[in-house]
């Protein structure tokens, strides 16, 4: 069994080393691929807070990913057409500034998570999965019919949004932005998991009865976790849209919700670097096997089957064993 910290450092070395190598040997495509993995990882870090700590199997996290994406799409669309987003009750202009877009993405996806969470957390188990899926479908079909912003065809943004002092069109610089955000989210996740809130949330997943008996509100703990989770996945959505300079209703699709869950399961549910490992493996398979066949998902299926059947705790669980206890 490999020490988990050591393994995490290895993953971090891959995250930094591969793009560095690609930059030196002038392979921008590899950098873009790594950026895709980092953004997916960020979306899955968000889900891992709800799923790993709170035990909430959300099959609707694409909602937040999509909201983040559309936050970028709509703001940038209005900026490039020089039209205001709205003129009532006061004028809101579009923007091409990443920090503003990120803020809007986080706020909007938190609000959506708050509403969806309040309704969904009245249920548990398979009903929770179904109701989150239902919300995902509602958003999916809403954006398909939302002709102002391209409907089914989605929205293209011609120039990547800007970040003060950086050239975001340079692949390595945009990768750097995404990686720093991912590392920040992971650091936050690390603190959160060990904090009093994390302890209570973790217990609410395992034994809600106990949490209530010590006088804490397990539903409210899970709701807060769901909101934090949605906010992080929403931020990932904004970064994903900027990576592709394109948003479309597929960002809201249930397949995407499923993929975010798959990242977490492949890497290891509740493990800090689980989402990162899962997203890296997914993007690697997509790239390597996608060339062989359009139906490469069948191999992903085999991998997932193997991990669920034989590996408790995903790839990290198989490589590093059970999580070390806190002292």
């Amino acid at each position: 069994m490999v020490n988990e910290r050591l393994f995490n450092l290895l993953i971090l070395a891959i995250l930094i080393g591969v793009p560095a190598w690609a930059y030196v040997s002038d392979e921008p495509f590899i950098i873009t691929l790594m950026t895709r993995a980092v953004v997916f990882a960020l979306a899955a870090v968000g889900l891992n807070i709800a799923l790993g700590l709170g035990g909430l199997v959300s099959l609707g996290h694409a909602v937040f990913f999509g909201i983040g994406g559309y936050a970028m799409g709509i703001l940038a669309f209005h900026a490039q057409t020089f039209t205001p987003v709205t003129e009532w009750p006061f004028v809101i202009e579009g923007t091409k500034s990443m920090p503003v877009i990120w803020l809007v993405a986080v706020v909007m996806s938190s609000l959506a998570a708050l509403v969806i969470g309040m309704l969904s957390l009245r249920t548990a188990g398979v009903y929770f999965i179904m109701i989150t899926l239902a919300f995902g479908q509602m958003f999916f079909f809403f954006t398909i019919s939302w002709s102002t912003y391209g409907g089914e065809d989605g929205l293209s943004v011609y120039v990547r949004n800007g970040f003060p002092g950086l050239n975001t069109l340079d692949p390595i610089q945009y990768f750097g932005i995404c990686l720093i955000i991912l590392m920040t989210a992971l650091t936050f996740n690390l603190f959160l998991a060990k904090s009093p809130f994390g302890l209570a949330l973790n217990a609410a997943r395992q034994t809600p009865q106990r949490v209530e008996t010590v006088g804490l509100n397990s539903t409210r703990l899970k709701l807060v976790a769901f909101v934090i989770s949605g906010a992080i996945t929403g931020l990932a959505g904004a970064l994903f849209a900027d990576l592709n300079r394109f948003v479309s209703p597929t960002m809201f699709s249930w397949q995407l919700s499923g993929e975010i869950i798959i990242f977490v399961i492949i890497g290891g549910v509740g493990r800090l670097f689980g989402p990162v490992v899962g997203a890296l493996v997914f993007v690697a398979l997509e790239h390597l096997l996608g060339g062989l066949s359009d139906y490469w998902h069948i191999y992903l299926g085999f991998l997932l089957l193997g991990i669920v059947l034989f590996g408790k705790g995903g790839l990290i669980g198989m490589i590093c064993g059970r999580e070390k206890v806190d002292a």
């Binding site: 603190f191 060990k194 209530e212 008996t213 010590v214």
Partner: protein
């Protein structure tokens, strides 16, 4: 005459035609251990669940510290000082013994909205937790995962978590179950002292412990209390002998 800390009035719970508890009126006085005994299926667990608020009674009332708590939730009853231990351990099995106890201490503060400093680094939480563990004798295994504990140690941990809440009354569902004789003797001695801090409503199968500890005993048969009294009174009671102690005497 002492005012009871905890009192039930005609608690009844029907599941269809079956009455799991039927007009149960018992009370718990300051400083006492009141044992509730009865054969399997007598309704002891249903009674506890109604007292603690996880099952809504079909009829009757629960009074705690002089207030009617029948309509408030289990969580709110805990907050007013009702400490419960479970028959089937409701512990976070993936967490350590210390983490489970710190959870209790955290619940007692009422503020879980702390997101930065590690829970185990909060010295006020940790000291409450550690002293509770010392009192039940689990300080040596505090960094062990709960699913690696013996059954008996889990019962001790249940009691430790209840202690962190500094309750006004304890409701304990078979704390002795699964303890070896040594553990049982140790816990008996501990509960004997604990009654001076807060009275204990004790549901227990271990008759040695009941006879060693109880100030009063209530006997529950088919959901009804057929007798309440001191150990001697219960031993002599003909109904009880027939219904419950029959085989032994």
């Amino acid at each position: 005459m002492l005012e009871p800390i905890l009192r039930t009035h005609g608690l009844t719970k029907s599941f269809g035609a079956l009455k799991a508890t039927d007009d149960v009126s018992i009370d718990l006085l300051p400083g006492e251990i009141h044992a509730v005994i009865g054969p399997n299926g007598a309704g002891k667990s249903t009674l506890i669940a109604q007292i603690c608020g996880t099952i809504k009674p079909s009829a009757g009332r629960v009074e705690f510290l002089g207030k009617d708590v029948t309509s408030i939730s289990a969580r709110q009853r805990s907050l007013t000082g009702l400490g419960r231990t479970f028959q089937i351990s409701a512990l976070a099995m993936e967490d350590t013994v210390l983490q489970n106890t710190v959870l209790g201490a955290l619940g007692a503060t009422g503020n879980p909205w702390r997101f930065v400093r590690p829970a185990l680094k909060h010295s006020e939480l940790r000291s409450v937790a550690e002293s509770a563990l010392e009192r039940v004798g689990l300080e040596d295994v505090m960094h062990t995962r709960t699913d690696e504990l013996s059954h008996g140690q889990r019962r001790q941990l249940e009691v430790a978590v209840a202690l962190t809440l500094d309750p006004r009354a304890f409701v304990m569902d078979e704390p002795m179950a699964g303890l070896g004789s040594e553990g049982s003797i140790r816990l008996t001695g501990f509960l004997d002292e604990l009654r001076n801090e807060a009275p204990i409503l004790l549901v227990e199968h271990d008759m040695d412990a009941v006879f060693a500890l109880a100030d009063r005993i209530s006997v529950l048969v088919y959901g009804k209390v057929i007798a309440t009294g001191s150990i001697e009174e219960i031993r002599k009671n003909a109904d009880v002998q027939e219904a419950y102690l029959g085989d032994e005497s």
